[in-house]
Homo-oligomer: 513 residues x 2
C-alpha cells in the first residue's frame, strides 16, 4: 500500500469522511487513492479560501474535522485567511498539503516554497511525512490533534514521494483527550463571588453558548443578579425563542465600555478577557474597568457546560429567567433597508432550526440583537476578522448539517473575497440562501477612518467605494450556476426570502443595503 492510500484509509478509520479539495499535481496519488478507496465525500472548491472556509463551517456543525486537500505552499497560503478564522473559532480541521518529492525539493523548482513556515502561524499542529511508512501514523495523530479540546487546526504536509512510495500502513484512530473537568472547589469559589451580588458580568464563549450552557448560565444569572454576555465573536450559538437572549460584547468601543461600566467582577466561561478588536489613538485596549476582578470559571479546553451546571446548582439557580418570545406576527416593515426593519423581517421569516452564517459586517452588526425572538436557530459568526467568511462557512455548514436550512449573511466587500463558494453550492445542490448586503462600499472603513480622527479625502473616498463600477451579484451568481434576484426594499426581500426558504437548493438575494 502506498502512503496516499494509507492516508485515505486512516482518515476514514478516524471518522473523517469529508474532504474539501482543490488539488494540484503533487496531490495526484492522494486523488488516485480517493478513486481506489470508497467512502470519502470529496467537495471541490475553486479557490483554497473556499476550501478552508468550508472546513471551518463543517467542523462547527459536524463537531468533527473535515480534511482539506491543498496544493503546495501557495495553494495552502490562499487558504490561510479562513484557517485563521477557523483557528479563532477552535474548529477542528485536518489540512493535507501536498508538496514536492523530498529528493526533488533541493532543486528548488518553481513551485517550491516553505510550506512548514507558512503553515505554522495558522496551525496548532504541523508535521511533514518524510516517507510513506509514517503517513498513516501522522494522519491518525493529525485527527487526534484536531479533536483535542477545544478544537485545533492540524496540518499534515505530504511530499509526493511519501505519497507514492509503498510500505505504508493504516493507523488506528487515537482517542483525543476529554475536556478537563473543573474542580468543584473552584466552582464553589466562583459561586461565593457571585453570591456577593456585586455588579458582575458572566462572559460566555465557545461551548458555553450551546443550548445547555446557556440554560445553566441563565439559571446562575437569575439566582445571583449577574448579567450574561456572549463574546464579541461567537463560534456557534443557540438562539431564538425559548432560549436566553444573550447579546454580544459590542464592536464599538463606547458601547462596549457602557456594557462593563461599574462592573466589579467578570466571570469568564470559555472566553478570554474582553479586548477591543482594534486599537485607536488614546483609547484603551480593554473594555472593562481597571479595578474589575477577572475570574475564570472554565478555560477553553475545560468542560464549560459541566462547570456552568455545577455553578447553577451551587448558587441555587433552579430555573432560568425570561427567555426570548416568538416573534410577533402582523405586518412586516416595508421600504428601504434599515437595520431595525431588516432585523424585524429576518426575525419573522427565519425558518426553524436554520443555521445562520454571519459575515455581514456593518449591515449585520445590529442584527444579532434584533433577532432573539426568531424561531430557534444557531448562529455561526466570523471569528477571526478575515472577511469573506460567510460564503464558504455556509457552504461547509450545509455539508456538515444536512437537512437544515443554511442562511448566509454576507457583506458585499467581504463577499468578493470568496464568491467562488457559490459554484460549490450549485454543484453540491446545497440548501443555502445567501443574502448579499450590497451597500457598494467598504462601509466599515468609512467609519474606521473617522474613528482614528482623520477627515475623508479623495484617496480614501475612492479606496472605500465599491460602486464604480457597481457589482451585479445576480450576474455573478448566475455565472456560477446559482439562481439569484435583487431586492431594493424590505417587502421585496421578504417575498424572495420566503420563496427561497420554501424550496431546497442555493439561492442568492442581492439586498440594496
Amino acid at each position: 500500500m502506498n502512503g496516499a492510500e494509507s492516508l485515505v484509509r486512516t482518515l476514514l478509520a478516524c471518522g473523517v469522511d469529508t474532504c474539501f479539495a482543490n488539488p494540484g499535481t503533487s496531490e495526484m496519488h492522494f486523488v488516485a487513492a480517493l478513486d481506489a478507496v470508497p467512502g470519502m465525500r470529496c467537495v471541490l472548491g475553486l479557490a483554497e479560501g473556499v476550501v478552508t472556509g468550508c472546513a471551518d463551517g463543517y467542523g462547527r456543525m459536524a463537531l468533527k474535522p473535515a480534511a482539506t486537500l491543498l496544493h503546495c505552499g501557495p495553494g495552502f497560503a490562499n487558504g490561510i485567511a479562513n484557517l485563521h478564522n477557523a483557528r479563532r473559532a477552535r474548529s477542528p480541521v485536518v489540512n493535507i498539503v501536498g508538496d514536492h518529492a523530498t529528493y526533488h525539493r533541493p532543486y528548488d523548482p518553481p513551485l517550491a516554497s516553505d510550506v512548514q513556515g507558512l503553515a505554522r502561524p495558522v496551525s496548532d499542529w504541523v508535521r511533514s511525512s518524510q516517507d510513506s511508512v509514517t503517513v498513516g501514523r501522522h494522519a491518525a495523530a493529525a485527527v487526534q490533534a484536531a479533536l483535542t479540546p477545544p478544537g485545533q487546526v492540524a496540518t499534515l504536509i505530504l511530499p509526493a514521494d511519501a505519497s507514492w512510495s509503498e510500505g505504508a500502513e493504516v493507523a488506528s484512530a487515537l482517542p483525543p483527550p476529554a475536556r478537563r473537568v473543573v474542580d468543584g472547589r473552584h466552582v464553589r469559589d466562583i459561586a461565593a463571588v457571585l453570591q456577593r451580588r456585586q455588579p458582575t458580568v458572566i462572559l460566555l464563549g465557545d461551548d458555553a453558548l450551546g443550548e445547555r450552557g446557556l440554560a445553566a448560565a441563565e439559571r446562575v444569572a437569575q439566582a445571583t443578579g449577574a448579567r450574561l454576555r456572549a463574546t464579541g465573536q461567537v463560534r456557534r450559538m443557540a438562539r431564538g425563542h425559548g432560549r436566553p437572549a444573550v447579546d454580544r460584547v459590542p464592536y464599538a468601543l463606547e458601547k462596549a465600555l457602557e456594557v462593563f461600566a461599574g462592573v466589579r467582577h467578570i466571570v469568564l466561561v470559555g472566553a478570554r478577557a474582553p479586548v477591543q478588536f482594534f486599537a485607536y489613538p488614546g483609547k484603551p485596549s480593554v473594555v472593562y474597568p481597571p479595578d474589575a476582578e477577572l475570574h475564570t470559571l472554565a478555560e477553553l479546553d475545560e468542560d464549560q457546560v459541566g462547570a456552568l451546571e455545577a455553578l447553577a446548582e451551587g448558587v441555587g439557580g433552579t430555573q432560568g429567567g425570561v427567555s426570548a418570545q416568538p416573534a410577533r406576527g402582523g405586518s412586516l416593515p416595508r421600504g428601504p433597508f434599515t437595520h431595525e426593519g431588516f432585523g424585524a423581517v429576518f426575525e419573522s421569516l427565519l425558518p426553524e432550526n436554520a443555521v445562520v452564517a454571519d459575515d455581514a459586517v456593518t449591515s449585520g452588526r445590529q442584527l444579532f440583537g434584533h433577532t432573539f425572538n426568531a424561531a430557534p436557530h444557531e448562529w455561526l459568526q466570523i471569528t477571526g476578522g478575515a472577511i469573506g467568511h460567510a460564503l464558504p462557512c455556509a457552504t461547509g455548514a450545509a455539508v456538515g448539517a444536512p437537512g437544515r436550512k443554511v442562511v448566509c449573511l454576507q457583506a458585499d466587500g467581504g463577499g468578493m473575497y470568496s464568491l467562488q463558494a457559490l459554484w460549490t453550492q450549485a454543484r453540491e445542490k446545497l440548501d443555502v440562501v445567501t443574502v448579499i448586503f450590497a451597500n457598494r462600499a467598504y462601509r466599515i472603513l468609512q467609519g474606521e477612518l473617522l474613528a482614528v480622527g482623520a477627515k475623508p479625502g479623495a484617496a480614501s473616498k475612492d479606496l472605500f467605494d465599491l460602486g464604480r463600477p457597481a457589482l451585479d451579484w445576480t450576474m455573478l451568481a448566475a455565472g456560477m450556476g446559482v439562481e439569484a434576484a435583487r431586492a431594493d426594499t424590505l417587502e421585496a426581500f421578504a417575498d424572495l426570502f420566503t420563496a427561497a426558504c420554501a424550496r431546497r437548493g442555493p439561492f442568492l438575494i442581492e439586498l440594496e443595503a
Copy 2:
C-alpha cells in the same frame, strides 16, 4: 509628521508613485496620508491576490516597484500566492502591511497573527517599524531592497501606532547596487568552451530575454553553432518578427529530455540549471544528461546583457541568425479550437507592441512556439506555478505600461482564483483584452494523473471537472462591469479579438477550448 505621512512621502521621494491596495482598519492612517499627500496613484483590488499580482505585472513593465497596501496577517496571506510568482520573476515589489498597534498586540485580539512569519517565506527583505521615527528610513530601505538586482520582494510591516505617532521624518532615496559586471576573463573562458563547437545549449532567462540580450545571444549562436533556449518560465521576453525565435524548455519531461539529448555543455545566462517542474516516480529531476557540463556566464544579479555582448564579440559573432518573419496573411484557420489553429489566429492578429500575460496552462502550452512570427510584442508568463496569475498580472501591466495593448491569456481553472481583477480593469478603464480558455476542467491534472501512472476513477473525474455547473464567464465579467462575449469557433474568436483590439478598454472573450 506622523509615520504614515513619512511613509507616503518617502515612497514618493524614492520614485514609488503607484499603490495597489486593499486596506483595512489598521491601515487607516496610511489611507489618511494618501488623502493628505498628493502624487500617489491608488488602484483598488477586491482581493489581495489581485493586489499582489498587479504589483508583479506592474514591476515587470515599469522596472520599478509599486507599493501594495495589505491588511494584517490574513490579508497579507491572501496575497502570498502571487508574491510567490513575483519573487520567482524577480519583480520589484514593496509590500506595506498594516498590523495592530504594538501595545495592543499582547492582548491577542481576533485579527492578531504572526505577520512576520507569514511574510518571510515570500519576501527577500522584511522589517517591522516599531515606532514612527523609523518608518521613513525603513521605507527607503524597502525600495532599495526591491530594486536590488535582479529584483526583490520587500515587506514592511507597519503597526498602527508607528503609523499614527508623530516625530517621523521623510527619508531620502537610497541608491540600489548596480548589477555586477562579469569579469572579462570569465567571458573568454566561456567563449573557449563554445569555440570547441561541441553540442551546446545556451539557456537564457531574466534580463537575457530582452531585445538586446536576445540579439547578442543570437550572434553567439550563429558564430558557434550553440542552440538557444529560454527558461521554462519567462519573466518578460521580447518576441515577434525581427527578433530571434527562441523557444522555452518544454514542460513535459520527455520533450525536455529531447531538447538536451546529447548536449555536452549548458551555458546559463540569468538562468539556473533546468529542472522538472514536478517529480514523477522513477523519472529524473533534471532534464539534461548527467555528463553535461554547466557553465554560468552571468548570475541573476549580474549584467547578463553586457556579458552576452562581450561573449558575442569574443566568439566573433558579428550578425544574428534567422529572425522570425512576419506572419503570413491569407485565410485564417476556422472551426473549433485547436492548439495550432489558435496559434495561427493569435499570431496573425496580435497587435504590434502588445504585452501578453500568459497563464493559459494546457491551452497555451504550445502557443509560445506557434507565435514567433507575430508582430513584435512582449511576453509575461506565470513564473512560480501559483495559478490565476494572468488576470492580475495583465491588470498591473496595463497600469505599468500605459498606451500599450495588454492581452491576458487565462485558463478557466486558474482564472477562478483571481477573477476579481476584472473589476479593477473596469474601474481603471484599463486596455486589457482577456481570453478565457474555457475547457471546463483542470485539464492539466487529467494529464498529471496519467503521468503518475494512475487510472482515472469517479473521485478524480469529479475533482477535475469544472463543467458541473458550467461557469459562464460572460456573466461573471458583466457582473464586474467588463463587456464580454463567447466564441465557439476560431473565426468567431478572430472577429471578437479584432474588434476588442481596435477599441480601448477592457473586454473579455470566453473561448470554448
